[in-house]
Amino acid sequence: MLMDILAFLTSPRFIEAFLRVIVFPGTLFTLLYAILAVWGERKLHARVHLRIGPLHIGPIMGLFQVIADFVKLVQKEIIVPRAAHRFIYNFVPLAAPILAAMSFAFIPCAPYPFYYGRPGPPYWVIYYTDLSLLVVLALFSLRPLLMIGAGWASNNKYSTLGALRAALQLFAYEVPLIIALAGIVIAVGTFDLARIAESQLVVWFILTQPLGFIVALIAMMAELGRRPFDIPLAEQEVVFGWPTEYTGAQFALVMMSEYLDLCAVSALITILYLGGWYGPVVPFLPPQASYVFWFLFKVAVLTIIIMLGRAVFPRLRIDQLLKAGWTWLIPLALLQVIIVLLEVDANMSWCIPAIAG
């Protein structure tokens, strides 16, 4: 019995799965991304603000400031408001990061270099399925439910207002996002993110479907609640929106889930529009490693672009966002789908990989 367990634990299949879940596309990578993203965002905004930002903690440029902040938050008392719905209130900070990390489990990062004919996906991905795009979108659309739950359970008027704003915001981004992504699904003919990435070996979808890219990027920013669209969290209006009442470790978890979501969204757009892991061969790197490098590089660039919104834009009002969503994003996304359908009709194989292959 013990030997069986030991044999299982040392089997290459288990070690491989363990490494995937714990190290590269899994927990460690996303946590490292979250830490670097918070630090990078603070340094980036400090640079735009003509400030310095975190400076002293850590080896270079305050790199460990985030860890120090996290430790400080974890030390604090967890306060549950007396009239709050205790179960939902305590459930949301645990569920939010899990949900965010879960969506990352379905996103393939690069071809798997150590694939020797063993059963398992030929990609750096925790769970491989050919419906991965649908699964990821479904997981994304669960997040507003958590926000509404937390806002209602806090029994705070500001939290409730923030939750209602989050629910309203859903109407602005969900429809255009799905229509825009439909353009890609039509072009490739599958929901499989790995095959969508592989179909961009020659031409990236950002070139053949620029409108879809713009709509998807804006809708994703609205989904994440980044600056021009951080309406549910608007500090000046509803204090901190739906997570107003959270303190200490719960607040840290809620904030971590935001950055895990940012990671998942950046990875998704990279796969869908920016050619996934394809790029010029990096000198001094084996081709397999260069796949990983290009994927991470594109994710980083997208993250910085999404973060810059907070530096250069004020916040929109909820009715302005809804108006923009329904009068600009949906028509643009529909236009993109129509263009794709016309291309399918005209057999333009260079931008419709489904026809080509």
């Binding site: 603000h49 003509l50 600056r227 608007a234 530096a311 834009f313 004020p314 909820i318 302005q320």
Partner: protein, 364 residues
């Protein structure tokens, strides 16, 4: 169908990121604010009463506390002036110029602060940091001049307390021309920012007739299209010799109230440059009699937030019999419930901040 949804009452402040030491009692229907009722008094310090128990000179730092953290000079300047009017003292020329220089520098600092608050009320952190950083340059100048960054207590009865330090003129001109360049950056970053315009234009429109009827003063009144400024209407110190304009705008909304402060900073830079050029030599303080005569006097100056008045009644003793302080924020506060009727909740912070109300100034 007969069932009426009751408006939700939301108590905004005094613990709220944007309200300062105010409380607003809002009645909300969905996202629409039906009614706003300001609840003031959280910073009431009874300065008018305190002033009756201090001698005239001791009162200088006391009345400055009405609104020292934004606009110390505009707040305090009226108090020595009302005493000088009562005593019939003529202030030396150099002191008049120094008062104008300090007042205009402080106006620049205060308006930068106001712009930063309008920016952050729309969630525009970059402008907050830029303006606060640049305000620090002006505060450094004031520190060179008076030894303090915020609570200057610079004018005194009969003149000013300190003369210009060495190299002040060169440093001031350098920093002011830097600020002129920065104003161009602000224009590009904030005033021409499409999203900022979307949030502020057409929001909180205060018509000139309403502004006059409600008794609005200062930049808010000028943003509402009424050309009224004590510096021009009833020039004090040496403002009649200064070459500047009173900007007046014609859209009357929150955007204009932010814009007019940027325009007034330009005019203030002009005034400081001219005053530094024309600064005469001479004493900085006149001799004053030990006690003021019996009687009463009123003086008004244009502080950064508007007309600041002092009404002094003296019974010939060494303490004021009554000192009435007319502060601009209290007069502008009345516009807030007027403008916050049937507006989205998201516009309330912008309207409130664009009026540039200071709780200290309202409560005294």
């Amino acid at each position: 169908m007969g069932s009426k949804v009751e408006a939700m009452t939301l108590s905004m402040g005094p613990q709220h990121p944007i309200t300062g030491h105010f409380r607003f009692i809002l009645e909300i229907d969905g996202d629409i604010v039906l009614k706003l009722e300001p609840d003031i008094g959280y910073t009431h310090r009874g300065i008018e009463k305190v002033a009756e128990y201090r001698t005239y000179i001791q009162n200088l730092p006391v009345v400055e506390r009405v609104n020292s953290y934004c606009d110390s000079m505009g707040t305090l300047l009226g108090y020595p002036r009302v005493l000088e009017e009562l005593m019939g003292i003529e202030v030396p020329e150099r002191a008049k110029y120094l008062r104008v220089i300090a007042a205009e520098l402080n106006r620049i600092a205060s308006h930068l602060y106001a712009i930063c608050l309008v920016a952050i009320s729309t969630g525009f952190e970059t402008m907050l940091m830029w303006t606060i950083n640049d305000r620090e340059l002006i505060l450094d100048l004031l520190e060179m001049l008076t030894g303090q960054r915020i609570t200057l207590t610079y004018p005194t009865v009969g003149g000013v307390r300190y003369d210009l330090p060495q190299a002040f003129k060169e440093e001031a001109l350098k920093r002011l021309s830097y600020l002129e360049r920065r104003l161009e950056d602000y224009r590009k970053m904030m005033l021409e920012n499409h999203t900022f315009k979307m949030r502020t234009q057409g929001v909180g429109v205060l018509k000139p007739s309403d502004a006059i009827r409600l008794g609005i003063v200062g930049p808010n009144l000028r943003a509402s299209g009424v050309k009224a400024d004590v510096r021009k209407d009833e020039p004090y110190e040496v403002y009649d010799r200064m070459d500047f304009e009173i900007p007046v705008l014609k859209n009357w909304d929150c955007y204009d109230r932010a814009l007019i402060r940027a325009l007034e900073i330009e005019q203030s830079i002009r005034i400081v440059k001219q005053a530094l050029k024309e600064l005469p030599e001479g004493p900085i303080r006149a001799r004053i009699p030990p006690l003021p005569p019996k009687g009463e006097a009123y003086s008004r100056v244009e502080a950064a937030r508007g007309e600041f008045g002092y009404y002094l009644v003296s019974d010939g003793k060494d303490k004021p019999y009554r000192l009435r302080i007319v502060s601009p924020s209290f007069r502008n506060l009345i516009a807030l419930p007027f403008l916050c009727r049937n507006v989205p909740l998201a516009d309330v912070p912008i309207i409130y901040i664009s009026l540039d109300l200071i709780p200290l100034d309202v409560d005294r």
